[in-house]
Structure formats: C-alpha cells, structure tokens
Amino acid sequence: MPTIRVVNLKKYFGKVKAVDNISFEVKDGEFVALLGPSGCGKTTTLLMLAGIYKPTGGEIWFDDQLMNNVPPKYREIGMVFQNYALYPHMTVYENIAFPLRAKKMEENEIKKRVHDVAKKLMIENLLDRKPGQISGGQQQRVALARALIKQPKVLLFDEPLSNLDAKLRMMMRAEIKKLQEDLGITSVYVTHDQAEAMTMASRIVVFSRGKIMQYGTPDEVYRKPKNIFVATFIGNPAMNLIRNLDYIKEKGKAFLVSENLRLELPEDVAKKIEESKNSGKFILGFRPEDAKIDQKESDMGFWAYVYVLEPLGRDLIINLKVIGTEELIKIFAEDEVNIKKDEKVFVKLQHGKIHIFDSETEELII
C-alpha cells in the first residue's frame, strides 16, 4: 500500500482559494482523518486525491509516483461518498460489480468476487435488491463493498456516516475502523464530526479555510492544540477562553490580569511566556473538565457567578460568568455539587492543564 504525500497543494476556484498551500503525509496503511467545518477545503482535497479535481498547484505523490495528471481510473483507489452514490437503477449486485465491468473482467470472476465481498460485509442476502429498497445502513455497506471490490490501494471516505442516525453511526464507526485495520489499506477520511475523527483516525488533519491548522494524533490535537481554532473546534463543550489579558510581574510573581481579574501563574508558565515572541496580549484557555468549583479562594483561579445550569444526566455543565469580564465559561461538575443560580464561586484551575495563546497570532505559547 502506498504512502501518500501531499506537497504545497493548492486548488483555486476563480478567486476562491478552496485549498491553500497544504502539505501532509499519510503513511502506508495509516488511517488519517481530514477534519474541519463545512467549506474548509477538506472535501476538495479528497477529490484531488481521487483525481476528480486537478490541483491548481503543488504535488500529490503515491509513493514515488507523481499523481497530479493521472486520471482516476489509473489511481487504484476506492471511494465511499456521503450519499453513497449507489446507482438507483441497478441492483446491489450490479452496483458492486460496476468497477469490475469497467475492467471488462470475466463474468465468473466478477460473480466470485462480488459474493466474497458481500459475505465479508454481510449483505449477501441483498444482492438482488435495488438501492431504494434497502436501509441507509445497508446502502452504506453496499457502498463500502463497491469501493473494496477492486482491491484498491487507497481508500477515500467523504463523510460516509453523516447520513445515518446517531446509533447506526456509532456502530458503523467501529466497523469501518476494524475493516481498515484488517485490510491495512491506506485511508483518508473526510468528516466534520470530531468524534468520528478522534475515535477512528490514527492522525487528524485539522482544516480551516483551506489551510491546515494542525496535523497530529487525536491526543495531540486535544491536549496540545496549536492555536485557538483547534482548541475551540475540538472538544465538546469547547475549550473555555478568557481573552484580552495582560502579563505583569509583581514582587517576583507573574500574573495574567485584566481590569477586574487577576490570575497568578506558576513559574514554568511565566518563563515560557517571557521567552516567547508575543504581542503583549494573551488568551487563557482551559478545558471544561480541567477546572473545579470551590467556595474559597486558592492559588490559581478566579471568581465567577453561576449563570445557567445544564444537567446532562451523568454530568452537569455549569455555565459561569467570570466576574469583571463578559466571558462565559462552561465547567463539568459532578452531580452532587450543590450550587444555585447567581451564586458566587471560585473557579480553580489545575497546574499543567492551562493553555496560553497569543492574542494576535492566536498561536499557542504554552
């Protein structure tokens, strides 16, 4: 299976820069997700990998073969589409056999292969039906079968689960992951659903407006977001941000302050800030699960009012308004915490679990 290398890839539609100078690599047999909001260029990138779109600039390599001008049929790829793109007038059998018919394969061989792949995907009993007569989940399997039947070296997925209901989606998520691991086919998976990307992929490319925001393992993009975009895009609820902070030193101690807020920083964090190139304004970020509610003041944290409570059954999300600012934050709390609306509480942050970004570049400092 090939290693895919994308180098300085660009795709412009007129003046619109759908994909703007991106580079990444997908290793042999790896499962990589392209994650981003709609219109961020991830599907465009996938269609360039498929050969449906031609790049405006840059290069696409499969191993040492430059693919830019290779038509789709010679790329040895399989693709699963968002709406499955099953041909409505053909039976499931004919749909799956379609790629082999394009190769003018012998009828016996086609039959054997279709049955093999149908068996693997547990759709053997559906072969005589038309796509309109089977359920969404079954259509999904047929689409997978059609992508797999020609034994592709690269698998491309374009939001394949977004048309399924939540329960089925969770099931297919695991199944596709298992299938990919068993077959070891290099795979690229486009999605706007972070849960899918986090659970399935070994690495994630986070996209925004045609550019790559971060490329790393699920843990890296969650724990060490490179910028505000990744920090807020990944995680649900999103990372809390407190903006517009200044850095000051008093009596050897370091603080992040705004008009009515004062947050003492540990020494290592202070050192990182001083060493960094920065604009002098900062954004503090922390995940909802990385803060605790307390009644009394302690070393690192700030006071806030309880704004709204959102009970989720197992968890409780407390919405708080930081005193002295307009910022709203969300914090996970255990159910038994007994607090009321409008109560004044202290939000206690944990060492090593805070992120500080530069206000101007929105890049991570620590």
Partner: protein, 281 residues
C-alpha cells in the same frame, strides 16, 4: 506505472472532439444566421464574401415597396398584437396561476389535468371551427380577433407555468400576511405578486415573442393589407422576391427577427421552465 499520452489526456482529447462535433452539427445554424445578416448589407455574395456593401436592401424602411403596405404601419400592427397578447396573458396568468397554486376548490385537480391536456392538444386542428367562431363574433380580418385567440390558446399553459412560480413561494409568507390581518386578495396583491415578478416578467417576454412572431393565424384570419403584421409582410416578400432579390428578403427578415433575437438572449435560460414546467418521470 507508465501512462501513454492518450491515457493521460483522454479527457481533454474527448472534450476537444465533442466540441468539434458540436460545431459540425451546429454549422447550418451558425452559417445561415451569419449569411442572413451579411446578405442584408450586400449587393451580392460569392459564398460568404459580399461583393459590395450597400444599404439599398433596407430601402423598404424609407420608401414603400410597390404593392406593399407601409412598413412602419405594419410594424405598429405587429407591436400592437404582441403587446396586447402580452397584457392579456400576464393579467390572466398571474391571477389564474395564483388560484391554482393557493386555493383549494372543487375541481382544482381536474382543472389542472384539463390544462395539461389542452397543452398537449394541437390547436391548429381547431382552425376550421375557430374560423367560424371568429366570423360569428365579427372578429375576422380584425387584429383583436388574433389577440384574443392567441391569448386564450396560450393562457392555460402559461397559467401552469405561473403556478410553478407561485408554488416556489414559501407558505409562511402567505400565513404571515393572513395573520397580519389582510384578506386573501390583499395578500395576493401586496405580498405574493411582488414576489413572483420574475415569473411575470418571463411570462410577459414569452407572450410578447409569441405575439410578435405569429404567422399562421395572421395568414389565415387577416385579409386586408392595413391589418398586416410583419410575418405576413415577410411571407409576401418571399413569394415576390425570392429569386429576384435576396438582399431585400434578408433585410426584411433581419428587421423582423431583430427584437426576438435581442429578447432571446435575456430569456433563453428560462426556456426550460416554459417548455416543460415541472414534469417528472
């Protein structure tokens, strides 16, 4: 993996080939319109090259051709028919389309089916009877007869098309108007009608074009030269000058076709809607 030149460029080669084929089968259209315009300004032509340019072919604009009515009077008649047909159709279809789209009344479905049948129905097969009806109404050799006839034959289908435009307006608009205390008629006048302006415009343009181009009815139901329209005028020049004066023939033709061709470029993209409406398989 080595790909041949053809394999790499199959797409481009195919598209190039298709464009060539399209040029080949479209050539009669391109060549003949090109010829028509050029010929109207030439004394004579060798193939597609004018031997000498002239405006003499356009003399009919400033001096009358013997035995023919005045061109401007004829043009005025043509415009009169076209504009009246347009007004009638716009008036009837903007109301009828709304009724079919938004009112529930007994016979609604059968009425719509009836309209579709009428559209499929060959109106030319009724000409004998129409002749009799026009004669009875004293509308033979009268432009009003042509106008009413034309408008009523085209209105059913145009109503169906307008209904399509009305269908495209969200029901919430209507609901909001009614909740705000207007009657249905007021809602139609003040809220809905302004929203279907594009539909009205398209209907108007097509009605105008069809009135402007009408030939068969004029040829059959109009006898006096004073009521001639341009179609009759051009038909007569074909009969009289076909072999004698292609220059005059093409100049008259260009003069007549010009408004339609200008309007055509505005409306060609709406053509599909008018030809077929929303027929699905």
């Amino acid at each position: 993996m080595r790909l041949s030149f053809y394999q790499r460029n199959a797409d481009k080669i195919r598209i190039f080939l298709f464009i060539l084929i399209m040029f080949a089968i479209t050539s009669p259209i391109i060549l003949s319109y090109f010829w028509l315009i050029l010929r109207s300004f030439s004394v004579d032509m060798k193939g597609f090259i004018p031997t000498q340019l002239t405006v003499k072919n356009w003399r009919f604009l400033w001096s009358e051709i013997k035995g023919y009515p005045n061109i401007w009077k004829t043009t005025l008649n043509t415009a009169f028919v076209a504009i009246m047909v347009m007004l009638f159709e716009v008036f009837m279809t903007s109301m009828g389309g709304y009724a079919l789209s938004r009112f529930d009344f007994p016979g609604r479905t059968s009425m719509m089916k009836f309209i579709l049948v009428l559209h499929a129905f060959p109106s030319v097969s009724l000409m004998v009877a129409i002749y009799y009806v026009l004669k009875y109404l004293n509308l033979l050799d009268n432009l009003w007869g042509i106008i009413l006839l034309k408008a009523s034959l085209e209105t059913p289908w145009a109503t169906w098309v307008m209904k399509g435009f009305y269908d495209g307006i969200p029901w919430e608009m209507e609901w909001a108007g009614l909740v705000d205390g207007y009657s249905r008629f007021q809602v139609w006048r003040k809220v809905i009608l302004p929203l279907v302006k594009p539909g009205v415009a398209v209907t108007a343009v097509f009605a105008f074009l069809s009135g402007w181009s009408e030939f068969i009815f004029i040829n059959t139901f109009i006898f006096s030269q004073e009521f001639w329209t341009l179609s009759k005028y051009v038909k007569a020049t074909i009969g009289d000058f076909r072999f004698a004066d292609y220059g005059l023939l093409s100049a008259v033709g260009v003069f007549y076709a010009l408004p339609t061709i200008i309007l055509f470029f505005f409306v060609s993209k709406y053509m599909i809607k008018l030809t077929i409406g929303g027929v699905k398989g």
